[in-house]
């Protein structure tokens, strides 16, 4: 039945991997796991439709519910609002990293992964990479819709794309954190519930929708210095203009810092429990 034997002998099996091979396989395995989620997603068109509806709905609701009421912000409120909605949407989109990771832990397929010669970390890195890919589409969709409801880039295409990149980097840093939550609570329902108390204050007590200046002083202190505001400010600077460098650098530092802390924690947690 089998033409060529794939069977490995003991010596080959025991040959240690070089550092280079290890890195190469980490990338290859991450790609395979990311492919696993994306291939599964393509098979569920209804789930794609629903996950597309949420960002679109957020854009439309915030644009038309708040868009009229809040004036007095310099320039167009739509232009002011849109980067905030983008950040909020990728933040809420990260819930899927928590739920997905917790769901995976409850499935037997993880048990099989553990018995395969794959890089263990790839189960988590693959998860965050597939979430990143999904976010690319959701941000494109939101931007297109944003343009349709009056959003205009006030800087240039390059700066706008840089803002887009900043947004995706932030979404990726959140994926790690939320995957970690999923790994900690291990139950999809609990994971979903656990993310809400984090998301609500960070997205609403921020500069995403309104200028922080109207909030009480103690809240301002939080709102000014928390990552969501920093990312929003960075995106705004890149998309709407104004002083750019500091905002963007702070936003980059936050995102990279979050990845640097959360990624190892998530991977370690996974290798410990699974």
């Amino acid at each position: 039945m089998t033409t060529t034997s794939l069977r490995v002998d003991v010596a080959t099996a025991m040959a240690p991997m070089t550092r280079r091979e290890r890195v190469r396989w980490l990338f290859a395995d991450t790609f395979t796991i990311a492919w696993r989620f994306l291939a599964a997603m393509v098979r569920m068109p209804d789930s794609i439709a629903f996950s597309a509806i949420q960002p679109m709905l957020l854009v439309l609701l915030f644009r038309y519910v708040f868009g009229g009421a809040i004036a007095g912000v310099h320039g167009s409120y739509v232009n002011y609002l849109m980067p905030g909605i983008f950040v909020q949407t990728v933040a809420f989109g990260a819930i899927i990293s928590a739920v997905g990771m917790a769901e995976d832990l409850q499935k037997g397929v993880i048990e099989r992964f553990r018995a395969l010669p794959m890089a263990r970390a790839a189960v988590v890195t693959g998860r965050t990479m597939s979430d990143l890919t999904r976010n690319v589409f959701s941000v494109i969709l939101m931007t297109a819709l944003g343009f349709a409801v009056g959003f205009r880039v006030e800087t240039n295409a390059f700066a706008f794309l840089a803002g887009f990149g900043l947004l995706l980097l932030f979404s990726w840093s959140l994926s790690w954190g939320f995957a970690l939550i999923g790994l900690l609570v291990r139950n999809p329902e609990t994971a979903q519930l656990a993310t809400i108390p984090i998301l609500l204050p960070f997205t609403f007590a921020s500069s995403a929708f309104v200028p922080v200046g109207t909030m009480p002083g103690w809240l301002q202190a939080f709102a000014n210095n928390q990552p969501v505001s920093q990312i929003v400010n960075g995106c705004r600077a890149l998309m709407n203009g104004g002083p750019t460098e500091t905002h963007v650098l702070i936003a980059l530092a936050w995102s990279l810092g979050l990845v640097a802390v959360l990624a190892p924690l998530a991977v370690r947690r996974y290798t410990r429990i699974a």
Partner: protein, 332 residues
Amino acid sequence: MPERPAIEVRDLVKVFTKGRVRALDELSFEAAAGTILGVLGPNGAGKTTAVRILSTVIRPDAGRAAILGIDVGQDPAAVRRIIGLAGQNAAVDENLSGRQNLLMIGRLSHMGRGPARRRADELLEQFELTHAANRPLKTYSGGMRRRLDLAAALVAEPPVLFFDEPTTGLDPHTRQEMWTWTERLVRGGTTVLLTTQYLEEADRLADKVIVVDHGRVIAEGTPASLKADLGATVLLVTLEDHERATKAAALLAPIANRPPVVADSSLEINVDDGPKAGSEAMRALDGAGLAVLGLVLREPSLDDVFLRLTGHRAEGAIAEEPPITAAARAAP
């Protein structure tokens, strides 16, 4: 020089702190290359824990195990390259198609894209799944799913396979089918460790059987030798109730090879000369005024071995083993 056993297990201990369960209690056994080792035991006996340690999924608290001479604790990465895992816990991805699942496992086993694809198609054909290759697994029947499960373990053609209760929850027809597949595999020189609660399964497939209860081996041998240990014949007597059965057991103890076992209103004894023992039993019970409702003479089964060794029937459930990943996959 005798060949080194394909699977060597020495004094494995695993304690689950959660339930303070001593899942493995100095478990030791060996499996020769190219044979099927049946690991027989009730729910919670430690079978799955042993498989998870041997397949490097979890680590033992003490003891050592080696696959083809490679220590599972010292070089788990190497062990993963020579083993395949199938069964109740090692599932496949529900949302992917059969082909996608096999392709994924091939890639994660570090096969090239081309070879992984060819191997997936080959296995789909071999397990008669080609017609369903592109359908998501959710649409598979129970038998098809188990076949894919088995195929998934074989992707990288590992020389050592672990099948953890591969037929639990399957209908008799599908179970037969799985047996045929497993038998075909071993013809190719693969070593298989198969855990099961079904004595019939061990009897049919295994070259050697170990009986495990409370995390240790309580008997081992070929199915035939285990049965032979019991004596040539089993005499099953049914009485009116449990109380009478207990009285009868005391009465018949002198003619039995081992102490009689009473279950409900029946009792079982092992004897060397069946017909002679049968008539003796009838006389003795008649003399004591105990009415015999039924009397059966039969060949001992592994079930009898089990009953004898553990004092309970094989399928009587004991406490469930605590899984680390809550891998409670619903039986389809």
